[in-house]
């Protein structure tokens, strides 16, 4: 599969301060790639390099196989971008803003633009100055989606939106993928990443610490079971590396397992298994496991 985004040893420093370090990233065509990390991890910096807003200190970034610095105009023709710190020009109506952005871009999808506004219940007749935070976010979303870009770069797209509209936005992201287009979805809200992303990259202190399929991450890396046993397990039962006992009640025990299941199952068989009840592990919990205590997880 072709990569729509590819970075190699991408490094950005702001004077002496770290932005991103040796970032190697590949986003495949037609996927929704979740880019996860706490505030200040380097998510926004990465996006800005892809759009040639910030220039890298070292390394290389390409989008659609084109160099981000050398062929930025060509790239941006096919990219829709919603900044995380969205700021809109004031003194004009939402309609005027969208028309202006469409004219600058040379967009020819007025009907689709109107459809997006209707789905997001956005009143375009009001001045941007009078918009609430949520309405400004909707306007930014329409501006990023209205030209049906081959690649959508969304930074915290549901920020400031009410839960119903959040669901609509996530639905729009799914539709984008269904049309074979790609989405680079930056967020620190893990539940929505889990809801729409195919793969997720976790960035920590400017470095990519993991890239996994969301399903694999959930299935393979962290499991939680509630075991109901015939005999009451001893105090030292299930005392293995990578296994945590979350809860214990007479004949039942809830375990969190980050390792091979085999020793746990062998021990369980020893006490006689009545029932095994798998419990849902959220991506957030997996994420916290990656980060560990005191490594920035508090910012999430």
């Amino acid at each position: 599969m072709t990569n729509v985004i590819e970075t190699k040893n991408l490094t950005v420093y702001y004077g002496p301060h770290r932005g991103i370090v040796d970032l190697d990233l590949a986003v495949e065509e037609g996927e929704v790639f979740g880019f996860l990390g706490p505030n200040g991890a380097g998510k926004t910096t990465t996006q800005r390099v892809l759009l040639d807003i910030i220039r890298p200190s070292a390394g290389k970034a390409t989008v659609f196989g084109l160099d981000c610095q050398e062929e930025g105009v060509q790239i941006r023709k096919e990219v829709g971008y919603l900044p995380g710190e969205l700021q809109l020009p004031e003194g004009m109506t939402g309609r005027r803003f969208l028309r202006t952005m469409a004219a600058i871009r040379g967009d020819n999808h007025p009907a689709f633009r109107q459809e997006l506004c209707e789905r997001l219940d956005l009143d375009l007749s009001r001045k941007i100055d009078e918009y609430s935070r949520g309405n400004k976010q909707k306007l930014g979303l329409v501006a990023s989606l209205m030209h049906k870009p081959a690649l959508l770069i969304l930074d915290e797209p549901t920020s400031g939106l009410d839960p119903l509209v959040q669901q609509t936005v996530l639905e729009m992201v799914r539709e984008t993928r269904a049309e074979g287009r790609s989405v680079f979805f930056s967020s620190h809200i893990l539940s929505e990443v889990q809801a729409v992303c195919d793969r997720v990259g976790i960035i920590r202190q400017g470095q990519l610490v993991a890239v996994e399929r969301v399903d694999d991450l959930i299935e393979q890396q962290l499991r939680r079971f509630r075991l109901t046993l015939v005999e009451t397990p001893g105090d030292n039962a299930f005392n293995f590396e990578g296994v945590s006992i979350l809860d214990r009640h007479d004949h039942s025990v809830t375990l969190e397992i980050r390792q091979n299941l085999q020793p746990v199952m062998e021990e369980a068989v020893h006490y006689g298994i009545v029932d095994i009840e798998p419990q849902t592990v959220t991506l957030e919990e997996i994420f916290l496991a990656y980060y560990g205590a005191g490594n920035g997880a508090n910012n999430v």
Binding site: S57, R76, Q87, A103, I104, R105
Partner: protein, 278 residues
């Protein structure tokens, strides 16, 4: 790029009307004052005309005639006042929008950076020209309405138009400098401070050049020295000075283009900080 230019021009619509009318009212005020205080000025000039403190604020020796009075208040003060708008607008175009966060949206559009700078610069140029045109139209209307009170002035409507429009290349120097420094320096306030300092030095430096050899040597650097109202009314547009001012504007625009091309937008750093990996 043309659509960005239209957008930038539309953003300045209120400023064009407001500043144009404001400057027109300023000249109206001067013309209304002239019949009343013209003679009083002549007496004042006899006593204070060569006083350096008096000369700091312009060539008041020339005020014994209407053309001298009119050209001083237009050629000395119109560009000075408009330079304030030029600095505000010039630093807002790139540095201001960068700090406000709105530039990020423009940069994510399929436009090269030079196109963004050029569209903004041309919009600013046209806006300033329109401000001066509004001013000129208001002045001409005032002039016609006050023809009887002013008496024989020896100044034609064409002279008035040329005198006012010639402020354009002078004021544009401050605007292009503000645009350039906004693209070069880390923060808008630094750019605004830099151009404002230059404006103050250029204004007083030009008026006091006759009193100091040092200032006389520096005078060619002051844009106001190329805008002599009396000379303009008597001899017409000095083409060499006009070309020099246009050249300075072009050079500053080129510097703005180069600086913005290299700029790490949203970072607020000096240009040379980008490549450093500690």
């Amino acid at each position: 790029m043309f659509n960005l230019f239209l957008y930038e021009l539309r953003k300045r619509r209120n400023a064009i009307i407001g500043w144009g009318i404001g400057m027109g009212l300023y000249i109206l005020y001067i013309l209304v004052l002239y019949p009343t205080i013209g003679d009083a000025y002549s007496g004042l000039i006899e006593n204070l005309g060569d006083n350096p403190l008096f000369q700091m604020f312009g060539d008041f020796q020339s005020m014994s005639s209407f053309s001298g009075f009119f050209s001083l208040y237009v050629a000395d003060y119109l560009p000075l006042i408009l330079a304030i708008y030029a600095i505000i607008n010039g630093t807002a175009a790139l540095a201001g929008e960068e700090e406000a966060g709105t530039l990020e949206l423009i940069l994510s559009q399929p436009l090269a950076r030079w196109q963004i700078v050029l569209a903004k610069a041309v919009a600013m140029m046209v806006a300033m020209l329109l401000i001066l045109l509004v001013t000129a139209v208001m002045t001409i209307i005032t002039f016609i309405a006050m023809e009887e009170q002013l008496g024989s002035t020896g100044v034609t409507l064409g002279d008035i138009t040329v005198l006012i429009l010639y402020a354009w290349p002078v004021v544009m120097v401050f605007m292009m400098m503000a645009l350039f420094l906004g693209a070069f320096l880390p923060h808008r306030r630094l750019a605004a401070t830099g151009v404002t300092l230059f404006l103050i030095i250029a204004f007083f430096g030009d008026n006091l050049a006759g009193l100091s050899d040092t200032l006389a040597r520096l005078q060619p650097l002051f844009p106001f020295s190329y805008y002599d109202g009396s000379q303009l009314l008597e001899e017409g547009v000095p083409l060499d000075d006009l070309l020099l001012l246009l050249g300075a504007n072009l050079a500053l625009l080129l510097l703005a283009l180069i600086s913005f091309q290299r700029r790490n937008v949203t970072v607020g750093a000096w240009p040379w900080q980008r490549a450093r990996i500690p």
